[in-house]
Symmetry: C2
Subunit: 181 residues, 2 copies
Amino acid sequence: MGKIPKEAKLVFKGQIFDVYQWPQQLYDGSMATFEMLKRPDTVFVIPVTEDRKIVLADQEQPGKRWLGLLGGRVDEGEEVLDAAKRELLEESGMESSDWELLYEIEPHGKMEWTIYIYTARQARRVAEQSLDGGEKIELIYLSFDEFVTEILKPDFDGRELQFEVIDPVKKEALRQKLLGN
Amino acid sequence: MGKIPKEAKLVFKGQIFDVYQWPQQLYDGSMATFEMLKRPDTVFVIPVTEDRKIVLADQEQPGKRWLGLLGGRVDEGEEVLDAAKRELLEESGMESSDWELLYEIEPHGKMEWTIYIYTARQARRVAEQSLDGGEKIELIYLSFDEFVTEILKPDFDGRELQFEVIDPVKKEALRQKLLGN
């Protein structure tokens, strides 16, 4: 959010990453070129089914395979919640009428990039998956404890979420957000 | 290390970030351009003085101010430990003969970038600070508990390290690495 100064110039426009540069005066009066990146925001969704199972994605893309959250990039001009609904429907065929934003994270100091993590409670299958050519996703249904165990594995894709469940107070707060009392 | 495939082409060389692209066949046979970044590795140092104080940096650069670890970029062709020694000497005027690598972290899936965190025990002042024109650093001397308190503040620069002290087992392991028994 607004980390890149207005006077910065777009010096490279990539597939994902755009590079901005601007001149910056240092404390000793000399000038330097500062640089920062911008990339599309990411939205993740933690669906909870009507029978209180939490859904993770066993995901494969060319060159890697990992267990992680459902979700993807927010398209240009798209509302974040709309992106969350679109990604959930595409990747799982699920819909929900009970959405809540759980976390909003800016992981990288030199990059304009926000990760939004939503829950979608009372999620139900309404369609088949419709995946990109570059994706294979298998849905995994877990209890809350199983979900936490997976998140804490070293190769789980999402250290930010690990941070939210390793602290017992934050973990209980997440459990209540997902499952209620 | 080696995340960017050999056939990737350098399409932009920035001040910090280089952008690589390569063609990738997807599961449905179609082709897409994949993109990844490379940036200089980072080395952080946690010095422990002879009277068992842990040193943090109250740091200011144009546009931001924050409490964090001493350290900086690894120069091209420089050994990581040499970079750690150089940064410690420049930023604090300290030297140590008791170095140990504590953590090696790759924070970002789409970027070749490793963060190395060292401790430098028995650290002692041997020189004045010699800072870049773009830096102001004040040294802060803390007990282990005060150090952990600072790390856990939401605006501490280094979520990766927060993860290492919020878990009691990992926190005790860090305490022993820094201070011994």
